[in-house]
């Protein structure tokens, strides 16, 4: 072998070694953070559920019902119980028609089948425009910082998300739900029409799926839910 090919082998082996060390470091960190990452993901869903539901003491994530709709989309339903009594149902839905594409949301229902709260959990809308529809934000003011005022309890209001509250599929609103501009009943922000349509679509997907499977979703506890 001449000098050049020896050199090449040496370089290859060296690079291989560097990569092996790097892989070792990355592997050990991945193992270390595996549990916290899984925990953080579960925490994110359960934080969302706590935000949209009244107090409950079962673990809704143990009993998830997934329904596939005709258009191929899926709706996941979580059922919340307080001492064995159904207090609410949450639908986890997604739509693809946002201005920034996909939009995820949680829609909670009261036991009598009406929408309780809508929150958007993931979106890619324009800051300051589309986000007026999707974000529930507690506005912190400078004066609050000095006076030591505590932040408000509960979910901050958002008129566009709150307009769906106490509605249900098949009531006075024409179905499928649409914004007023498209001949429906839902309010919208002009200039953020696509985001408005997406939020309305999100609520409608949840409401229509809930209506379809209401009997099953509102069924009493099967025993498992009564425990902690």
């Amino acid at each position: 072998m001449n000098q050049k090919s020896v050199n090449m082998v040496y370089l290859g082996v060296f690079l291989c070694l560097v990569c092996a060390v790097a892989a070792g470091v990355m592997g050990s960190v991945a193992v270390m953070t595996k549990e916290p990452i899984a925990k953080a993901k579960v925490q994110k869903i359960s934080d969302g559920l706590r935000a949209v539901l009244p107090p409950f003491n079962n673990n809704p994530m143990e009993d998830v019902r997934t329904y596939r709709e005709d258009d191929g989309s899926e709706a996941e339903f979580y059922r919340a119980f307080q001492d064995g009594k159904l207090v609410g149902v949450v639908a986890k839905v997604a739509t693809a028609i946002g201005y920034g594409g996909r939009m995820d949301g949680l829609v909670s229902f009261t036991p009598d089948g009406k929408i309780r709260t809508v929150i958007v959990t993931g979106h890619n809308e324009t800051p300051g425009l589309g986000t007026n529809l999707t974000d529930r934000k507690n506005e912190k003011r400078l004066s609050d910082l000095f006076s030591g005022k505590k932040p408000q309890e509960g979910l901050p209001a958002n008129p566009y998300l709150d307009q769906f509250a106490s509605h249900s599929a098949g009531d006075a609103w024409t179905t499928p739900w649409k914004i007023k501009k498209d001949g429906g009943n839902a309010d919208y922000i002009s200039g953020a029409t696509l985001s408005s349509r997406a939020v309305t679509d999100l609520a409608w997907r949840a409401a229509s799926a809930f209506r379809k499977h209401a009997a099953e979703l509102l069924a009493p506890a099967s025993g498992k839910e009564s425990g902690k």
Partner: protein
Amino acid sequence: MKLSEEFFKGIWRENPVLVLILGMCPSLATSSNATNGMGMGLATTFVLLCSNVVISAVRNLVPTKIRIPCYIVVIATFVTVVDLLMQAYTQALYNALGIFIPLIVVNCIVLGRAEAFASKNSMLYSAMDGLGMGIGFTLALTFIGLIREFLAAGTLFDVKIISAWPGFSVMGQAPGGFIVMGFILAGMNLYNMRRAAKAGKTYDLPQELDCRHCNICRLGEENRD
């Protein structure tokens, strides 16, 4: 060469964003508000510090011909570590910064410091250089973020300063980043030129430091013999 000088040069005289104009993509993309800008800056600082120290430690072992792949592997390792740690412990920030955390790998500030400084200097100096450049990057991003956030929503770090602010939403988007960046650069150049003129000199950008003088692009020419 003093330690403190290596630290402070990154903050003002050779600030990576505002003077060297390096790493523009993450700077403009993540500075839409002050919190994101600061988070991105701190993540990059961590990577810069660690990669500078490691690269400086192995600088005499790494064969010149494959130094760039080796640096990239070292940098990518630390970026992956930051990525995983942020996913585990700072979910909200991780969601906001999204794709820009993995993209720290190709941030030319990190590779630039590895090639221009860490591969030629001792570990202590390289650590100072990485820390200084990282903090300079963080300060620049936070500064741009504060201006953009204020213009877009009238808030600073999510605290409302002017309640009836009309809100220029363009400032929170990509064009706003370019506009604010342009004004800041113009202001810095004006300040530096005036100061140089007062001292009877003309102002030049620090030589041999910006993108045009980076050796990585000249690799092909070096090996042409």
